[in-house]
Protein backbone atom coordinates (compact mmCIF):
# COMPACT_ATOMS: atom_id res chain seq x y z
CA UNK A 1 0.00 0.00 0.00
CA UNK A 2 1.48 3.36 -0.94
CA UNK A 3 1.64 6.13 1.64
CA UNK A 4 -0.85 8.16 -0.39
CA UNK A 5 -3.21 5.19 -0.65
CA UNK A 6 -2.97 4.51 3.09
CA UNK A 7 -3.64 8.15 3.92
CA UNK A 8 -6.62 8.20 1.58
CA UNK A 9 -8.02 5.11 3.29
CA UNK A 10 -7.48 6.66 6.73
CA UNK A 11 -9.17 9.89 5.71
CA UNK A 12 -12.08 8.06 4.15
CA UNK A 13 -12.52 5.78 7.20
CA UNK A 14 -12.50 8.75 9.58
CA UNK A 15 -15.00 10.62 7.40
CA UNK A 16 -17.35 7.64 7.04
CA UNK A 17 -17.24 7.07 10.79
CA UNK A 18 -17.84 10.75 11.54
CA UNK A 19 -20.67 10.91 8.97
CA UNK A 20 -22.36 7.92 10.63
CA UNK A 21 -22.08 9.66 14.03
CA UNK A 22 -23.43 12.95 12.66
CA UNK A 23 -26.47 11.33 11.11
CA UNK A 24 -27.27 10.03 14.62
CA UNK A 25 -27.38 13.68 15.67
CA UNK A 26 -29.40 15.08 12.74
CA UNK A 27 -32.05 16.61 14.98
CA UNK A 28 -29.37 18.29 17.04
CA UNK A 29 -27.79 19.72 13.88
CA UNK A 30 -31.12 21.34 12.94
CA UNK A 31 -31.34 22.89 16.40
CA UNK A 32 -27.78 24.21 16.12
CA UNK A 33 -28.65 25.58 12.70
CA UNK A 34 -31.60 27.48 14.12
CA UNK A 35 -29.40 28.78 16.96
CA UNK A 36 -27.21 30.42 14.31
CA UNK A 37 -30.05 32.49 12.92
CA UNK A 38 -28.91 35.83 14.36
CA UNK A 39 -28.03 37.09 10.83
CA UNK A 40 -31.68 36.56 9.87
CA UNK A 41 -32.75 38.71 12.83
CA UNK A 42 -30.26 41.37 11.73
CA UNK A 43 -31.65 41.08 8.22
CA UNK A 44 -35.17 41.88 9.42
CA UNK A 45 -33.83 44.86 11.37
CA UNK A 46 -31.85 46.31 8.47
CA UNK A 47 -34.70 45.74 6.01
CA UNK A 48 -36.88 47.76 8.38
CA UNK A 49 -34.31 50.56 8.49
CA UNK A 50 -34.10 50.59 4.67
CA UNK A 51 -37.87 50.86 4.26
CA UNK A 52 -37.67 54.61 3.64
CA UNK A 53 -34.74 54.40 1.26
CA UNK A 54 -31.30 52.81 0.95
CA UNK A 55 -28.89 52.89 3.92
CA UNK A 56 -25.28 53.39 2.84
CA UNK A 57 -26.15 52.19 -0.66
CA UNK A 58 -28.03 49.06 0.60
CA UNK A 59 -31.71 48.73 -0.29
CA UNK A 60 -34.06 46.20 1.34
CA UNK A 61 -33.29 43.49 -1.26
CA UNK A 62 -29.54 44.16 -0.87
CA UNK A 63 -29.75 43.65 2.88
CA UNK A 64 -31.79 40.48 2.35
CA UNK A 65 -29.17 39.09 -0.05
CA UNK A 66 -26.30 40.15 2.22
CA UNK A 67 -27.65 38.57 5.41
CA UNK A 68 -28.94 35.42 3.74
CA UNK A 69 -25.45 34.82 2.41
CA UNK A 70 -24.00 35.76 5.84
CA UNK A 71 -26.25 33.05 7.30
CA UNK A 72 -24.98 30.58 4.69
CA UNK A 73 -21.31 31.43 5.28
CA UNK A 74 -21.62 31.18 9.04
CA UNK A 75 -23.43 27.86 8.76
CA UNK A 76 -20.70 26.49 6.50
CA UNK A 77 -17.92 27.65 8.80
CA UNK A 78 -19.37 26.68 12.18
CA UNK A 79 -16.67 25.13 14.37
CA UNK A 80 -16.94 23.80 17.90
CA UNK A 81 -13.60 22.06 18.29
CA UNK A 82 -12.64 24.16 21.33
CA UNK A 83 -15.36 22.51 23.43
CA UNK A 84 -14.09 19.09 22.37
CA UNK A 85 -10.47 19.94 23.19
CA UNK A 86 -11.39 21.56 26.48
CA UNK A 87 -13.22 18.41 27.56
CA UNK A 88 -10.69 15.94 26.18
CA UNK A 89 -7.73 17.63 27.84
CA UNK A 90 -9.32 18.39 31.20
CA UNK A 91 -11.04 15.02 31.61
CA UNK A 92 -8.34 12.84 30.07
CA UNK A 93 -10.51 11.81 27.11
CA UNK A 94 -7.58 12.59 24.85
CA UNK A 95 -5.79 9.45 26.05
CA UNK A 96 -7.42 6.85 23.76
CA UNK A 97 -6.81 9.17 20.79
CA UNK A 98 -3.14 9.60 21.66
CA UNK A 99 -2.65 5.84 21.54
CA UNK A 100 -3.55 5.65 17.85
CA UNK A 101 -0.83 6.22 15.27
CA UNK A 102 -2.66 9.21 13.79
CA UNK A 103 -2.78 12.80 14.97
CA UNK A 104 -6.06 13.48 16.84
CA UNK A 105 -6.36 16.63 14.69
CA UNK A 106 -7.56 14.53 11.74
CA UNK A 107 -10.44 13.05 13.73
CA UNK A 108 -11.65 16.57 14.54
CA UNK A 109 -11.27 17.66 10.92
CA UNK A 110 -13.28 14.62 9.79
CA UNK A 111 -16.01 15.31 12.39
CA UNK A 112 -16.29 18.90 11.24
CA UNK A 113 -16.41 18.12 7.51
CA UNK A 114 -18.90 15.30 8.03
CA UNK A 115 -21.12 17.65 10.00
CA UNK A 116 -20.97 20.12 7.09
CA UNK A 117 -22.00 17.39 4.66
CA UNK A 118 -25.10 16.72 6.77
CA UNK A 119 -25.79 20.41 7.37
CA UNK A 120 -25.32 21.79 3.83
CA UNK A 121 -28.55 20.47 2.28
CA UNK A 122 -30.50 21.58 5.35
CA UNK A 123 -29.05 25.10 5.08
CA UNK A 124 -29.51 25.58 1.36
CA UNK A 125 -33.29 25.24 1.56
CA UNK A 126 -33.99 28.37 3.68
CA UNK A 127 -31.27 30.38 1.92
CA UNK A 128 -32.55 29.71 -1.60
CA UNK A 129 -36.17 30.19 -0.51
CA UNK A 130 -35.27 33.45 1.26
CA UNK A 131 -33.42 34.85 -1.76
CA UNK A 132 -36.37 34.01 -4.02
CA UNK A 133 -38.85 35.55 -1.57
CA UNK A 134 -36.81 38.77 -1.21
CA UNK A 135 -36.38 39.07 -4.96
CA UNK A 136 -32.60 39.19 -4.47
CA UNK A 137 -30.51 38.11 -7.44
CA UNK A 138 -26.99 36.75 -7.22
CA UNK A 139 -24.76 37.14 -10.30
CA UNK A 140 -23.55 33.51 -10.05
CA UNK A 141 -20.59 33.79 -12.43
CA UNK A 142 -17.73 31.32 -12.40
CA UNK A 143 -15.59 33.97 -10.75
CA UNK A 144 -18.07 34.73 -7.97
CA UNK A 145 -18.82 31.05 -7.28
CA UNK A 146 -15.18 29.88 -7.32
CA UNK A 147 -14.07 32.90 -5.29
CA UNK A 148 -16.87 32.27 -2.79
CA UNK A 149 -16.00 28.57 -2.51
CA UNK A 150 -12.31 29.20 -1.88
CA UNK A 151 -12.96 32.05 0.54
CA UNK A 152 -15.43 29.94 2.55
CA UNK A 153 -12.81 27.19 2.80
CA UNK A 154 -10.23 29.77 3.88
CA UNK A 155 -12.66 31.17 6.47
CA UNK A 156 -13.19 27.66 7.82
CA UNK A 157 -9.43 27.08 8.05
CA UNK A 158 -8.94 30.30 10.04
CA UNK A 159 -11.86 29.61 12.38
CA UNK A 160 -10.99 25.95 12.88
CA UNK A 161 -7.29 26.45 13.62
CA UNK A 162 -7.90 29.61 15.68
CA UNK A 163 -10.26 27.54 17.85
CA UNK A 164 -7.88 24.60 17.85
CA UNK A 165 -5.04 26.82 19.08
CA UNK A 166 -7.26 28.43 21.72
CA UNK A 167 -8.52 25.00 22.80
CA UNK A 168 -4.94 23.77 23.23
CA UNK A 169 -4.42 26.54 25.80
CA UNK A 170 -6.28 24.12 28.11
CA UNK A 171 -2.90 22.40 28.54
CA UNK A 172 -1.81 25.52 30.45
CA UNK A 173 -4.98 27.09 31.81
CA UNK A 174 -8.63 26.24 32.32
CA UNK A 175 -9.71 29.61 30.94
CA UNK A 176 -9.48 28.75 27.23
CA UNK A 177 -13.23 28.71 26.74
CA UNK A 178 -13.50 32.17 28.30
CA UNK A 179 -10.92 33.52 25.86
CA UNK A 180 -12.88 32.01 23.01
CA UNK A 181 -15.97 33.96 24.10
CA UNK A 182 -13.99 37.21 23.87
CA UNK A 183 -12.79 36.29 20.37
CA UNK A 184 -16.35 35.35 19.39
CA UNK A 185 -17.83 38.67 20.52
CA UNK A 186 -15.19 40.70 18.73
CA UNK A 187 -15.43 38.64 15.56
CA UNK A 188 -19.23 38.86 15.45
CA UNK A 189 -18.93 42.64 15.11
CA UNK A 190 -15.77 42.94 13.02
CA UNK A 191 -16.50 40.09 10.58
CA UNK A 192 -19.62 41.77 9.24
CA UNK A 193 -22.12 39.34 10.75
CA UNK A 194 -24.18 42.14 12.33
CA UNK A 195 -23.77 44.85 9.70
CA UNK A 196 -22.01 45.07 6.33
CA UNK A 197 -18.49 46.41 6.85
CA UNK A 198 -19.18 49.13 4.20
CA UNK A 199 -21.29 50.81 6.85
CA UNK A 200 -18.46 51.00 9.41
CA UNK A 201 -16.59 54.28 10.06
CA UNK A 202 -13.74 55.08 7.69
CA UNK A 203 -11.05 54.67 10.40
CA UNK A 204 -12.18 51.14 11.27
CA UNK A 205 -12.45 50.17 7.60
CA UNK A 206 -8.83 51.25 7.10
CA UNK A 207 -7.53 48.80 9.70
CA UNK A 208 -9.87 45.82 9.26
CA UNK A 209 -8.34 44.35 6.06
CA UNK A 210 -5.15 43.60 8.01
CA UNK A 211 -7.04 41.59 10.65
CA UNK A 212 -8.46 38.10 10.07
CA UNK A 213 -12.04 39.18 10.82
CA UNK A 214 -13.40 40.43 7.46
CA UNK A 215 -12.24 37.21 5.78
CA UNK A 216 -14.50 35.16 8.05
CA UNK A 217 -17.81 36.59 6.77
CA UNK A 218 -17.90 39.89 4.88
CA UNK A 219 -15.33 39.11 2.17
CA UNK A 220 -16.77 35.70 1.16
CA UNK A 221 -20.27 37.24 1.16
CA UNK A 222 -19.20 40.14 -1.06
CA UNK A 223 -17.56 37.63 -3.42
CA UNK A 224 -20.81 35.72 -3.92
CA UNK A 225 -22.72 38.97 -4.34
CA UNK A 226 -20.32 39.77 -7.23
CA UNK A 227 -18.92 42.91 -5.59
CA UNK A 228 -15.26 41.91 -5.67
CA UNK A 229 -13.12 42.34 -8.80
CA UNK A 230 -10.30 39.99 -9.81
CA UNK A 231 -7.58 41.99 -8.09
CA UNK A 232 -9.62 42.29 -4.88
CA UNK A 233 -10.25 38.54 -4.90
CA UNK A 234 -6.54 37.78 -5.29
CA UNK A 235 -5.67 40.15 -2.49
CA UNK A 236 -8.32 38.55 -0.28
CA UNK A 237 -6.91 35.06 -0.99
CA UNK A 238 -3.41 36.24 -0.08
CA UNK A 239 -4.31 37.89 3.24
CA UNK A 240 -6.75 35.15 4.21
CA UNK A 241 -4.17 32.49 3.30
CA UNK A 242 -1.54 34.20 5.42
CA UNK A 243 -3.85 34.28 8.46
CA UNK A 244 -4.86 30.67 7.88
CA UNK A 245 -1.23 29.61 7.70
CA UNK A 246 -0.40 31.57 10.85
CA UNK A 247 -3.14 29.80 12.82
CA UNK A 248 -2.17 26.38 11.42
CA UNK A 249 1.49 26.89 12.35
CA UNK A 250 0.58 28.39 15.74
CA UNK A 251 -1.73 25.52 16.65
CA UNK A 252 0.87 22.91 15.64
CA UNK A 253 3.49 24.65 17.78
CA UNK A 254 1.08 24.70 20.72
CA UNK A 255 0.27 21.03 20.26
CA UNK A 256 3.94 20.04 20.35
CA UNK A 257 4.58 22.02 23.52
CA UNK A 258 1.27 21.47 25.27
CA UNK A 259 1.21 17.69 24.93
CA UNK A 260 4.18 17.47 27.31
CA UNK A 261 1.98 18.96 29.98
CA UNK A 262 -0.91 16.56 29.39
CA UNK A 263 -1.94 14.99 32.68
CA UNK A 264 -4.00 12.08 31.28
CA UNK A 265 -6.26 12.36 34.31
CA UNK A 266 -8.67 9.63 35.25
CA UNK A 267 -7.90 5.97 35.11
Amino acid sequence: MTALGANWRKGRALFVHAFASMTEYRAEIVIWMISGSLPLVMMAMWIGLAADGPVGGYGAADFAAYFLVVFLVRQLTVVWVIWELDREIRLGELSPKLLRPIDPLWGHVADNLAEKAVRLPLVLVPVVAGLWWAGARLPLTFESLAGFGLLVMGAWVIKFFQQYATGLLTFWTDQAVGLERVWFSVSMVLSGALAPLDLFPEAVRGVLPYTPFPYLVDVPVQALLGRLGGAELLQAFAVQGAWGLAFVVGSRWMWRHGIRRYGAVGA
Binding site: M1, A6, R9, K10, R12, A13, L14, V16, H17, A20, S21, E24, Y25, G92, E93, S95, P96, K97, L98, L99, R100, P101, I102, I259, R260, Y262, G263, A264, G266, A267
Partner: protein, 356 residues
Protein backbone atom coordinates in the same frame (compact mmCIF):
# COMPACT_ATOMS: atom_id res chain seq x y z
CA UNK B 1 12.54 -7.23 52.11
CA UNK B 2 15.53 -6.41 49.90
CA UNK B 3 15.31 -6.96 46.20
CA UNK B 4 17.47 -5.99 43.28
CA UNK B 5 16.21 -4.15 40.21
CA UNK B 6 15.68 -6.72 37.50
CA UNK B 7 16.66 -5.37 34.10
CA UNK B 8 18.62 -7.09 31.41
CA UNK B 9 19.65 -6.39 27.83
CA UNK B 10 17.01 -8.62 26.25
CA UNK B 11 14.14 -6.78 27.94
CA UNK B 12 11.32 -5.41 25.83
CA UNK B 13 10.53 -2.87 28.54
CA UNK B 14 13.30 -1.10 30.42
CA UNK B 15 12.56 1.50 33.05
CA UNK B 16 15.45 3.22 34.79
CA UNK B 17 15.00 5.64 37.67
CA UNK B 18 11.56 6.71 36.42
CA UNK B 19 10.16 9.75 38.20
CA UNK B 20 6.89 11.55 37.56
CA UNK B 21 5.93 14.70 39.38
CA UNK B 22 2.51 16.33 39.00
CA UNK B 23 1.98 19.98 39.79
CA UNK B 24 -1.34 20.34 41.52
CA UNK B 25 -3.30 23.43 42.34
CA UNK B 26 -4.20 23.65 46.02
CA UNK B 27 -7.32 25.38 47.22
CA UNK B 28 -8.93 25.62 50.59
CA UNK B 29 -12.60 24.73 50.89
CA UNK B 30 -15.37 27.30 50.80
CA UNK B 31 -15.81 30.84 49.53
CA UNK B 32 -12.73 32.20 51.31
CA UNK B 33 -10.60 29.51 49.76
CA UNK B 34 -12.01 30.26 46.32
CA UNK B 35 -11.29 33.99 46.65
CA UNK B 36 -7.78 33.32 47.93
CA UNK B 37 -7.15 30.88 45.06
CA UNK B 38 -8.40 33.49 42.58
CA UNK B 39 -5.95 36.12 43.84
CA UNK B 40 -3.02 33.94 44.85
CA UNK B 41 -2.80 30.52 43.24
CA UNK B 42 -0.79 28.00 45.17
CA UNK B 43 0.70 24.90 43.65
CA UNK B 44 2.27 21.86 45.18
CA UNK B 45 4.41 19.19 43.55
CA UNK B 46 3.18 15.65 44.05
CA UNK B 47 5.63 12.85 43.36
CA UNK B 48 3.53 10.10 41.76
CA UNK B 49 6.40 7.82 40.77
CA UNK B 50 9.79 7.98 42.40
CA UNK B 51 12.95 6.29 41.15
CA UNK B 52 11.31 3.17 39.77
CA UNK B 53 13.56 0.69 37.95
CA UNK B 54 12.56 -2.60 36.37
CA UNK B 55 12.71 -4.58 33.15
CA UNK B 56 10.25 -6.91 31.46
CA UNK B 57 11.31 -9.76 29.17
CA UNK B 58 9.46 -10.48 25.90
CA UNK B 59 6.40 -12.63 26.48
CA UNK B 60 6.41 -12.07 30.22
CA UNK B 61 3.20 -11.26 32.14
CA UNK B 62 3.79 -8.83 34.97
CA UNK B 63 1.25 -7.61 37.48
CA UNK B 64 1.37 -4.26 39.21
CA UNK B 65 -0.06 -4.23 42.70
CA UNK B 66 -0.58 -1.24 44.90
CA UNK B 67 -3.23 0.76 46.73
CA UNK B 68 -5.08 3.64 45.06
CA UNK B 69 -2.75 6.47 44.14
CA UNK B 70 0.36 4.30 44.47
CA UNK B 71 1.59 5.18 40.98
CA UNK B 72 0.59 2.05 39.04
CA UNK B 73 -1.54 3.81 36.46
CA UNK B 74 0.92 6.69 36.13
CA UNK B 75 3.68 4.20 35.34
CA UNK B 76 1.49 2.54 32.72
CA UNK B 77 0.66 5.90 31.15
CA UNK B 78 4.33 6.76 30.92
CA UNK B 79 5.08 3.37 29.37
CA UNK B 80 2.40 3.87 26.73
CA UNK B 81 3.54 7.40 25.88
CA UNK B 82 0.57 9.33 27.31
CA UNK B 83 2.67 11.06 29.96
CA UNK B 84 6.11 12.58 29.67
CA UNK B 85 8.36 11.38 32.49
CA UNK B 86 9.83 14.02 34.82
CA UNK B 87 13.05 12.03 35.16
CA UNK B 88 14.71 8.73 34.34
CA UNK B 89 14.65 6.78 31.10
CA UNK B 90 11.98 4.54 29.63
CA UNK B 91 12.32 2.24 26.62
CA UNK B 92 9.59 0.06 25.20
CA UNK B 93 10.46 -2.20 22.26
CA UNK B 94 13.43 0.05 21.59
CA UNK B 95 11.35 3.24 21.47
CA UNK B 96 11.11 6.21 23.76
CA UNK B 97 7.34 6.15 24.45
CA UNK B 98 6.92 9.91 24.94
CA UNK B 99 7.83 10.47 21.28
CA UNK B 100 4.77 8.45 20.25
CA UNK B 101 6.28 7.40 16.94
CA UNK B 102 3.96 5.52 14.58
CA UNK B 103 5.99 2.29 14.74
CA UNK B 104 5.87 2.38 18.55
CA UNK B 105 2.11 2.98 18.70
CA UNK B 106 1.48 0.16 16.20
CA UNK B 107 3.33 -2.23 18.51
CA UNK B 108 1.55 -1.48 21.78
CA UNK B 109 -1.89 -1.09 23.23
CA UNK B 110 -3.30 0.31 26.44
CA UNK B 111 -6.67 -0.85 27.66
CA UNK B 112 -8.17 1.33 30.34
CA UNK B 113 -11.06 -0.16 32.25
CA UNK B 114 -12.51 3.29 32.86
CA UNK B 115 -11.88 4.95 29.49
CA UNK B 116 -13.24 3.86 26.18
CA UNK B 117 -12.20 4.28 22.61
CA UNK B 118 -15.37 2.92 20.99
CA UNK B 119 -17.88 5.47 19.72
CA UNK B 120 -20.85 5.46 22.03
CA UNK B 121 -23.50 6.05 19.35
CA UNK B 122 -22.28 3.60 16.73
CA UNK B 123 -21.76 -0.13 16.53
CA UNK B 124 -18.40 -1.47 17.72
CA UNK B 125 -17.63 -2.67 14.19
CA UNK B 126 -17.77 0.96 12.97
CA UNK B 127 -14.91 1.84 15.32
CA UNK B 128 -13.07 -1.35 14.30
CA UNK B 129 -13.10 -0.18 10.67
CA UNK B 130 -11.45 3.09 11.68
CA UNK B 131 -8.76 1.12 13.50
CA UNK B 132 -8.30 -1.07 10.45
CA UNK B 133 -7.51 1.97 8.33
CA UNK B 134 -5.49 3.80 10.96
CA UNK B 135 -3.30 0.76 11.70
CA UNK B 136 -3.13 -0.06 7.96
CA UNK B 137 -4.44 -3.61 8.33
CA UNK B 138 -5.11 -5.28 4.96
CA UNK B 139 -8.69 -6.57 4.45
CA UNK B 140 -7.85 -10.28 4.55
CA UNK B 141 -5.76 -9.92 7.70
CA UNK B 142 -8.49 -7.80 9.32
CA UNK B 143 -11.13 -10.46 8.63
CA UNK B 144 -8.90 -13.21 10.00
CA UNK B 145 -8.09 -11.31 13.20
CA UNK B 146 -11.67 -10.24 13.74
CA UNK B 147 -12.69 -13.88 13.35
CA UNK B 148 -10.13 -14.96 15.92
CA UNK B 149 -11.10 -12.25 18.41
CA UNK B 150 -14.80 -13.00 17.90
CA UNK B 151 -14.14 -16.62 18.76
CA UNK B 152 -11.84 -15.92 21.73
CA UNK B 153 -14.11 -13.29 23.27
CA UNK B 154 -17.49 -14.70 22.14
CA UNK B 155 -18.38 -11.48 20.36
CA UNK B 156 -21.06 -12.99 18.12
CA UNK B 157 -24.07 -10.72 17.96
CA UNK B 158 -22.36 -7.85 19.80
CA UNK B 159 -20.41 -6.16 17.04
CA UNK B 160 -23.38 -4.64 15.22
CA UNK B 161 -25.20 -3.39 18.30
CA UNK B 162 -24.93 0.25 19.26
CA UNK B 163 -22.17 0.43 21.87
CA UNK B 164 -24.33 2.28 24.40
CA UNK B 165 -26.81 -0.62 24.33
CA UNK B 166 -24.14 -3.14 25.39
CA UNK B 167 -23.69 -4.21 29.00
CA UNK B 168 -20.50 -3.18 30.77
CA UNK B 169 -18.99 -6.61 30.29
CA UNK B 170 -19.95 -6.81 26.62
CA UNK B 171 -18.49 -3.37 26.06
CA UNK B 172 -15.23 -4.34 27.75
CA UNK B 173 -14.92 -7.34 25.46
CA UNK B 174 -15.45 -5.10 22.42
CA UNK B 175 -12.91 -2.63 23.82
CA UNK B 176 -10.37 -5.44 24.14
CA UNK B 177 -11.01 -6.52 20.56
CA UNK B 178 -10.63 -2.94 19.29
CA UNK B 179 -7.39 -2.59 21.24
CA UNK B 180 -5.95 -5.79 19.82
CA UNK B 181 -6.96 -5.69 16.14
CA UNK B 182 -3.50 -4.42 15.22
CA UNK B 183 -2.04 -7.38 17.15
CA UNK B 184 0.35 -5.45 19.41
CA UNK B 185 3.38 -7.15 20.96
CA UNK B 186 3.08 -5.23 24.22
CA UNK B 187 -0.19 -4.94 26.14
CA UNK B 188 -0.73 -2.51 28.96
CA UNK B 189 -3.92 -3.31 30.82
CA UNK B 190 -5.11 -0.84 33.41
CA UNK B 191 -7.83 -2.29 35.61
CA UNK B 192 -9.26 -4.33 32.73
CA UNK B 193 -11.88 -6.04 34.89
CA UNK B 194 -13.06 -3.11 36.98
CA UNK B 195 -16.80 -3.19 37.58
CA UNK B 196 -17.29 -6.55 35.85
CA UNK B 197 -19.11 -9.45 37.45
CA UNK B 198 -17.15 -12.53 38.49
CA UNK B 199 -17.95 -14.58 35.37
CA UNK B 200 -16.97 -11.75 33.06
CA UNK B 201 -13.79 -11.14 35.07
CA UNK B 202 -12.86 -14.78 34.54
CA UNK B 203 -13.59 -14.54 30.81
CA UNK B 204 -11.36 -11.49 30.46
CA UNK B 205 -8.57 -13.19 32.43
CA UNK B 206 -8.80 -16.32 30.33
CA UNK B 207 -8.70 -14.24 27.18
CA UNK B 208 -5.58 -12.33 28.26
CA UNK B 209 -3.83 -15.59 29.17
CA UNK B 210 -4.85 -17.09 25.79
CA UNK B 211 -3.66 -14.06 23.88
CA UNK B 212 -0.33 -14.15 25.68
CA UNK B 213 0.06 -17.87 24.94
CA UNK B 214 -0.99 -17.60 21.27
CA UNK B 215 0.99 -14.53 20.29
CA UNK B 216 3.79 -14.41 22.86
CA UNK B 217 2.79 -10.86 23.74
CA UNK B 218 4.26 -9.09 26.74
CA UNK B 219 1.57 -8.07 29.24
CA UNK B 220 1.79 -5.53 32.03
CA UNK B 221 -1.40 -5.19 34.02
CA UNK B 222 -2.66 -3.34 37.05
CA UNK B 223 -5.65 -4.40 39.02
CA UNK B 224 -7.40 -3.95 42.30
CA UNK B 225 -8.51 -7.54 42.07
CA UNK B 226 -5.80 -9.77 43.39
CA UNK B 227 -7.37 -12.65 41.45
CA UNK B 228 -6.52 -10.89 38.16
CA UNK B 229 -2.90 -10.72 39.11
CA UNK B 230 -2.56 -14.16 40.66
CA UNK B 231 -4.36 -15.77 37.71
CA UNK B 232 -2.20 -14.13 35.06
CA UNK B 233 1.15 -13.02 36.40
CA UNK B 234 3.89 -15.09 37.97
CA UNK B 235 5.93 -12.00 38.60
CA UNK B 236 4.57 -9.01 40.47
CA UNK B 237 5.74 -5.50 41.07
CA UNK B 238 4.42 -3.97 44.26
CA UNK B 239 4.35 -0.21 44.20
CA UNK B 240 3.47 2.00 47.15
CA UNK B 241 3.64 5.78 47.33
CA UNK B 242 5.44 5.87 44.00
CA UNK B 243 8.19 3.51 45.06
CA UNK B 244 8.75 -0.07 44.05
CA UNK B 245 8.69 -2.10 47.25
CA UNK B 246 8.82 -5.58 45.76
CA UNK B 247 9.73 -7.10 42.39
CA UNK B 248 9.73 -10.85 42.10
CA UNK B 249 7.83 -14.08 41.81
CA UNK B 250 4.48 -14.23 43.46
CA UNK B 251 5.36 -17.53 45.08
CA UNK B 252 8.60 -16.08 46.47
CA UNK B 253 6.63 -13.20 47.97
CA UNK B 254 4.17 -15.59 49.56
CA UNK B 255 6.94 -17.77 51.02
CA UNK B 256 9.02 -14.89 52.25
CA UNK B 257 6.17 -12.89 53.72
CA UNK B 258 4.05 -15.73 54.94
CA UNK B 259 6.16 -18.37 56.66
CA UNK B 260 2.93 -19.85 58.02
CA UNK B 261 0.11 -21.83 56.51
CA UNK B 262 -3.47 -21.71 57.70
CA UNK B 263 -4.97 -24.81 59.21
CA UNK B 264 -8.78 -24.65 59.23
CA UNK B 265 -10.64 -27.06 61.48
CA UNK B 266 -14.36 -27.72 61.82
CA UNK B 267 -15.09 -29.35 65.16
CA UNK B 268 -18.09 -31.36 66.37
CA UNK B 269 -17.92 -29.88 69.91
CA UNK B 270 -16.28 -27.02 71.71
CA UNK B 271 -12.73 -27.44 73.06
CA UNK B 272 -10.52 -25.45 75.41
CA UNK B 273 -8.64 -22.56 73.84
CA UNK B 274 -5.51 -23.86 75.61
CA UNK B 275 -5.77 -27.10 73.60
CA UNK B 276 -5.85 -25.05 70.39
CA UNK B 277 -2.97 -22.81 71.45
CA UNK B 278 -0.85 -25.89 72.06
CA UNK B 279 -1.11 -26.69 68.34
CA UNK B 280 -0.35 -23.26 66.84
CA UNK B 281 -1.24 -19.54 66.75
CA UNK B 282 -5.02 -19.14 67.00
CA UNK B 283 -6.15 -16.69 64.32
CA UNK B 284 -9.84 -17.24 64.74
CA UNK B 285 -12.03 -19.38 66.94
CA UNK B 286 -15.68 -18.72 66.23
CA UNK B 287 -17.82 -21.46 67.70
CA UNK B 288 -16.75 -24.66 66.08
CA UNK B 289 -14.77 -23.07 63.23
CA UNK B 290 -11.08 -22.73 64.09
CA UNK B 291 -8.23 -21.14 62.13
CA UNK B 292 -4.64 -21.79 63.24
CA UNK B 293 -1.35 -20.34 61.93
CA UNK B 294 1.26 -23.07 61.65
CA UNK B 295 4.88 -22.87 60.41
CA UNK B 296 5.12 -24.41 56.93
CA UNK B 297 7.53 -27.13 58.06
CA UNK B 298 5.21 -28.28 60.85
CA UNK B 299 1.94 -28.41 58.94
CA UNK B 300 1.76 -32.18 58.48
CA UNK B 301 2.72 -32.94 62.08
CA UNK B 302 0.28 -30.41 63.57
CA UNK B 303 -2.58 -31.56 61.32
CA UNK B 304 -2.01 -35.16 62.42
CA UNK B 305 -1.94 -34.09 66.07
CA UNK B 306 -5.16 -32.10 65.65
CA UNK B 307 -6.92 -35.09 64.09
CA UNK B 308 -5.73 -37.33 66.90
CA UNK B 309 -6.55 -35.04 69.84
CA UNK B 310 -9.58 -32.98 68.79
CA UNK B 311 -13.11 -33.86 67.65
CA UNK B 312 -12.38 -32.83 64.02
CA UNK B 313 -15.16 -33.07 61.41
CA UNK B 314 -13.30 -31.40 58.57
CA UNK B 315 -9.81 -30.07 57.96
CA UNK B 316 -8.25 -27.79 55.31
CA UNK B 317 -4.72 -26.49 54.85
CA UNK B 318 -4.42 -23.20 52.99
CA UNK B 319 -1.90 -20.53 52.07
CA UNK B 320 -2.31 -17.11 53.60
CA UNK B 321 -4.37 -15.09 51.07
CA UNK B 322 -2.14 -12.90 48.88
CA UNK B 323 -4.41 -9.95 49.76
CA UNK B 324 -3.34 -10.26 53.40
CA UNK B 325 0.33 -10.46 52.48
CA UNK B 326 0.21 -7.39 50.30
CA UNK B 327 -1.90 -5.45 52.79
CA UNK B 328 0.73 -6.33 55.37
CA UNK B 329 3.46 -5.08 53.03
CA UNK B 330 1.68 -1.73 52.59
CA UNK B 331 1.05 -1.44 56.32
CA UNK B 332 4.77 -1.95 56.94
CA UNK B 333 5.56 0.73 54.37
CA UNK B 334 3.23 3.14 56.15
CA UNK B 335 4.74 2.31 59.53
CA UNK B 336 8.26 2.87 58.18
CA UNK B 337 7.25 6.23 56.70
CA UNK B 338 5.58 7.26 59.94
CA UNK B 339 8.72 6.28 61.89
CA UNK B 340 10.83 8.32 59.44
CA UNK B 341 8.56 11.32 59.92
CA UNK B 342 8.73 11.05 63.70
CA UNK B 343 12.51 10.72 63.57
CA UNK B 344 12.77 13.73 61.24
CA UNK B 345 10.51 15.81 63.49
CA UNK B 346 12.49 14.73 66.51
CA UNK B 347 15.79 15.64 64.86
CA UNK B 348 14.38 19.00 63.71
CA UNK B 349 13.16 19.66 67.25
CA UNK B 350 16.55 18.70 68.68
CA UNK B 351 18.31 20.97 66.17
CA UNK B 352 15.98 23.87 67.07
CA UNK B 353 16.52 23.17 70.77
CA UNK B 354 20.28 23.14 70.22
CA UNK B 355 20.14 26.56 68.59
CA UNK B 356 17.93 27.94 71.38
Amino acid sequence: MRWRPRASLGDVIRVDGLRKVYRVHEKEAGLRGSIRAFVDRRYRDVVAVDDVTFGVAPGEVVGFLGPNGAGKTTTLKVLSGLLHPSGGTVRVAGFEPRRREGAFLRGITLVMGQKQQLSWDLAAVDSFLVNQAVYEIPDAVYRERLGELTEMLSLDGLLRKQVRKLSLGERMKCELAAALLHRPDVLFLDEPTIGLDVTMQQQVRRFVADYNARHGATVVLTSHYMADVTALARRILVIDHGRLVFDGDLSALVEARAPEKRLRLSLSERVDRADLAALGRVHAAEGLEIELGVPRADVARVAAAALARLPVVDVAIEDVPVEDIVADLFAQGRAARAADAVRAAHEAGAAAGGRG
